[in-house]
Symmetry: C2
Subunit: 209 residues, 2 copies
């Protein structure tokens, strides 16, 4: 019942702390693999193929899209970024739980490709707190912050397509709860059709004995 | 976000150990209340009203059914048994998580009345193990055991209407996982419509400032 890993997609408001959450989750528990993205942009100094990204050329990426090899992808500033299906499948088959940190358009593409995917959305306790965190970074102009808040309104409208909300108030609590939600997803009825079918078959066989 | 308690309905194959699971859950954690059933049967020696059952007469029970005061009920050997809505609502409002151990017909009645209810189904790791446990009790005839197995086939057909399967292999593990699933249900998107609406409203207010 526990063999295959769980694919978890984590999205959230920018400023909700999802990057930190994901890093801590992977550091603290050894069952998680972070999905490696594929991109057509050139490697930056120190970036290694297969570690930071899978670097490939544009025609190959486009061929991957056409042949259904991408779980999700998007174009950004003239380059493609996406999640190759094969790597994720390998990890899941090996029993590793895979974490994908992507935004909602990508999340919905993944869910369509792999309906078993668990969609989690990270939020701070309130909108005020979100604004406070964005301002606290001191790295962005007021205009950029307004852009992020506008984007957050858009995201709030699609939260109900996710399965769980992760309230990131205290980080350690949030990491533990996220881990529990992912581990317990293994017991959700929708992810156990095979086990249920097996029990049904066994019960019927026993009855006939 | 965590104020209201979670109503959990626990069903399962007979022999799956759900009674022991529920008792251990209530013993080990202090946030759970066991729902008290209402019945029209006479109290047995030592049974107290409001502790073991709420004992009421038949016309009052029938009036409760008609006026929608029962979350679920069934008739058994000429008496009514059921769950009064008011007690459950009081507990949930007080922030207590309520556990209801009932069979599937009752579970579906509850879900219809309170769609927020979390439906959990307890199963042993295999049908063989179920049979072994039933035989190991040494309290039932082979005919009774066959009856229970026949009933299990019926139940296996409706498991997919539950949200989670609790695999009761090791009891302590199962108790812990059940607790986690119930606690994390508080973060499910479907149980947080009010919180999501609030964040949306706050974001829009901030934008207008």
């Amino acid at each position: 019942m526990k063999e295959r890993g769980v694919l978890t997609v984590i999205s959230g408001f920018s400023g909700a702390g999802k990057g930190t959450l994901v890093r801590k989750l992977i550091d603290e528990y050894d069952n998680y693999s972070l999905s490696i993205s594929m991109t057509t942009r050139a490697p930056r100094e120190g970036e290694q193929n297969g570690v930071h990204y899978f670097f490939i050329d544009k025609p190959t990426f486009e061929e991957n899209i056409r042949s259904g090899k991408m779980l999700e992808y998007a174009e950004y500033q003239g380059n493609y970024y996406g999640t190759p299906k094969e790597y994720v499948e390998q990890q899941l088959s090996a029993g590793n739980d895979v974490i994908l940190e992507i935004e909602y358009l990508g999340a919905f593409q993944v869910k369509k490709m792999l309906p078993e995917a668990l969609l989690l959305f990270v939020t701070p306790p309130s909108a005020d707190e979100l604004l406070r965190r964005l301002r606290g970074r001191h790295t962005e102009t007021e205009e950029q912050i307004r852009g992020r808040m506008k984007r957050a309104i858009e995201e709030a409208d699609i939260v109900d397509k996710y399965e769980f909300i992760l309230l990131n108030d205290d980080l350690d609590t949030c990491v533990r709860e996220t881990h529990e939600i992912i581990q317990n997803a293994k017991y959700s009825v929708s992810r156990n059709a095979a086990f249920i079918d097996e029990i049904k078959r066994e019960l019927k066989d026993l009855k006939e004995e």
